[in-house]
Amino acid sequence: MSVEPLVGTDRVKRGMAEMLKGGVIMDVVTAEQAKIAEEAGAVAVMALERVPADIRAQGGVSRMSDPDMIDGIINAVSIPVMAKARIGHFVEAQVIQSLKVDFIDESEVLTPADYTNHIDKKKFTIPFVCGATNLGEALRRINEGAAMIRSKGEAGTGDVSNAVTHMRTIRKEINRLSTMAEDELYVAAKELQAPYDLVVEVARLGCLPVVLFTAGGIATPADAAMMMQLGADGVFVGSGIFKSGSGVASNEDALRRAKAIVRATRHFNEPDVIAEVSRGLGEAMVGINVADIPVHHRLEDRGW
């Protein structure tokens, strides 16, 4: 600590993520959608050019959003704004920071820019969130400076099964570390391909040293509540709000669905409340079974 203000410390970055706990972070592609998300009680919005369902449908290379679009969203709402950079694309991250975005998502939803290295996140003042499918991957991201982890799931599908698998895997591997003898943690670190010091810290804490959210395929209030019951600290909803079964959701439907997911996340242990908010929401976003997606089109395998 210091008598002079220090910006970008671990405590300031990780603390920002702590303040989002229990909340829902919503993907938005316009300022109008950002306002609907804020109105519905989103704890932050994720500014991106296309939601994952459209990226999946349209294909091509997917990149950081236009700075004009990000500025428009920052000016439209008072809640925190996040934006996505491609995996390894440190210049996109520099641009996002210069726009004064509050949080960067180094995201497998965009096309990776580097198939070997992730961004050195310790060089940035603003915090990063990264996806993970297991504990080793989560700890490698934290070692690079990530201040928040989310399950990857399989974005843009409306199929929650991969998010469930990733959350259960991370929890199971944490529980395993907690029961190990001290002298077994060296081999555990080797097996997890993660730094020994972080492995010891997780074994001692019984949880990650940063906030753990869930993402990827969460489409309904019940999906959100299930992920919270499985131990998520909060929820990212991508395509699930502004996409409906028939394509683009009307603003009224999107607002109703967004409010329902916020309420289900807060009352995740109360089936009566989840039942109430699930009534009359209309058709959920079009679903794609993860099993039907060819392996080389799956986003969860991006990042290493």
Partner: protein, 202 residues
């Protein structure tokens, strides 16, 4: 009364777990307050950091905003950090029109006054009444206090730099508020001060 008062942490959204831990270390029994029944059980209440817009909406939806105001009006001690300070302020700038507050402290605060996350910072602060060394204060998209009424005691201001003189901690009777997050530091002196306030007013 018993030496360990029962203190709740309003569990709508935000940094609930950290406050529970700090309260226990400071000698209180601590519970997360989810419902009206929980609220009625506690002798003091912490309003944690988080997004004040979200807390306001959830408190309204769950029918908690009026009971919270009533509890405050009957003298329930409350401590708000960051978003919690906003919830306890009588006047708030830069808030959404539909946002509702608990109020009670005669101050005007400005939301996100220190800037966006890129401007968030930590620094050592002198805080009145906690004794010992300076307090490690973590500011995250933090509000500041712009005006204080005559009943309000200023506990801390920023000492140096471009924001010198800015008020960041206040007390009015049983109500305590900080712009920063003592729950993120492991330093429990401000929580201990609040536990003392709860004992005093119980």
């Amino acid at each position: 009364m018993s030496s360990a008062p029962l203190i709740g942490v309003l569990a709508l959204q935000g940094g609930v777990r950290e406050h529970l831990g700090s309260l226990v270390h400071a000698g209180a029994h601590a519970i997360a307050v989810h419902s009206l029944e929980d609220l009625e059980a506690v002798q003091g209440l912490v309003i944690p950091g988080g997004e004040s817009t979200v807390m306001s909406k959830l408190a309204i939806q769950d029918g908690l905003i009026e009971p919270l105001r009533a509890a405050r009006a009957t003298g329930l001690p409350m401590f708000g950090s960051c978003a919690g300070m906003i919830m306890l302020a009588n006047r708030v700038s830069d808030a959404r029109e539909d946002q509702e507050f608990i109020g009670g402290i005669d101050i005007a605060v400005r939301r996100n006054a220190f800037g966006r996350q890129v401007d968030s910072f930590e620094m050592d602060l002198e805080v009145q009444g906690i004794g010992g060394t300076a307090f490690p204060a973590v500011f995250i998209r933090a509000p500041w206090v712009e005006e204080v009424g005559s009943e309000v005691q200023i506990l801390s201001t920023i000492a140096a730099g471009p924001r010198a003189g800015t008020i960041v901690a206040v007390q009015q009777g049983p109500l305590l508020a900080t712009s920063f997050h003592p729950e993120l530091t492991g330093d429990i002196r401000i929580h201990a001060t609040f536990v003392e306030i709860v004992r005093q007013y119980a």
